[in-house]
Point group: C2
Amino acid sequence: MTDYPGVAVTVDLVVLTVREDRLQALTVRRGEEPYVGRWALPGGFLRPEEDLPAAAGRELAEETGVSAGQVHLEQLGSYGAPDRDPRMRTVTVAYIALAADLPVPVAGTDAADARWQPVADLVDRPAEDPGSLAFDHAAILRDGVERARAKLEYTPLATAFCGREFTVGELRHVYEVVWDRPLDPRNFHRKVTGTTGFLEATGGTTARDGGRPARLYRAGAATSLHPPLLRAPV
Amino acid sequence: MTDYPGVAVTVDLVVLTVREDRLQALTVRRGEEPYVGRWALPGGFLRPEEDLPAAAGRELAEETGVSAGQVHLEQLGSYGAPDRDPRMRTVTVAYIALAADLPVPVAGTDAADARWQPVADLVDRPAEDPGSLAFDHAAILRDGVERARAKLEYTPLATAFCGREFTVGELRHVYEVVWDRPLDPRNFHRKVTGTTGFLEATGGTTARDGGRPARLYRAGAATSLHPPLLRAPV
DNA sequence: CTAATAGTGTCTATCAGACAGTATACC
DNA sequence: GGTATACTGTCTGATAGACACTATTAG
């Protein structure tokens, strides 16, 4: 009972952002076997004295240069099929990170290259496609995207995709891109400004999108939305 | 990079049921160090050739005698603080199981005893209390209970707490116990019978609760509820 | 001026909560 | 009969979606 074989535990990240009107995920090109040259989710081994959230934050900082305080980071789930890594028995704990548009990613230690890629281009490729993600990362990405879509319904997390200050129009754009459906600007405005704790006006305005200047907001104190902002059922 | 120290991976279960008008969790008394004699969540080591869901199903069958097909089993999350087990570095993948009232639990291999205990009695004890759960299991249980409460809002999972056939009144009782708040019987009835895919009438009736006989239902085909059944905000 | 986006108001169908009233069992 | 639960119906206030209208900028 005390001598069970050890398992290698890794932490992988689904880092999502809204760039160029599309939901995109951070990918790194693998520099070693297995799957050398293929794209993969950023991640790495859990260190001996490190808690799981700390490992996720460290990997995120290594790959993107941002500290964990600037993004929303939460555990997604664990994946441990016995054959998921041909080298050894591994269990990976996946996290999702929701970030505002970040600077071009920096190449991490193991990664020959790092790049944002639209999730739509990654999710549905067959495993033989050299553009598909290594290991079981396509399934992890699918789960992470679905989690993000669901969380926008009942939490104010869409603000994590925006900068520190943003307009209602920018927030709506996040919803439209993540959910991949248009929303009525008037009704959206009424709903989000009418939900207490969602938005906090800064007093400033901006006209960066053209048209009449829009009020600027910060994320409010609420951690959940009552009532939720539901996606219309098909 | 390929020689990271192994970690012991365990699977722990938050098995929930509604018994005697209270939400209860399955606990086992530890038969070995550490925390010998203390109550803990059922669980055990991940076996070398076993996937995570398979390990959770196996542990559930060992502790309760029920097969995984009879209960709802889903991953809750992973816990890996470096000091969570004094013997060695462990990461546990927690699952929640929602079950109808089960036969009295059978003692598992490692467990000197097994017992249902109301979650309210387990969740808020200080760590020094000998009745409190071992390891970080109180925190895992808290997370599992909150997950179950939330899932009742937007999925038909409350049916997992009922037998194969049940009445609307029994289903409402599940909601009232899990959410710990009374619900209006008339409005509840209208809502659940009006949500397509939630319930499927069997044609039979029963008078096991006294009063006018109630129609019997099975769980329907829906996997999510549109619109959700929201808990009133306080 | 036009075009664009921001923000407010209004209408309507629907829905949640409150609760009256009827149905059918057991005692 | 009384009491329990099951079920249906009705009312009212709130809300979601549709969309008209005004406000304020750029060009």
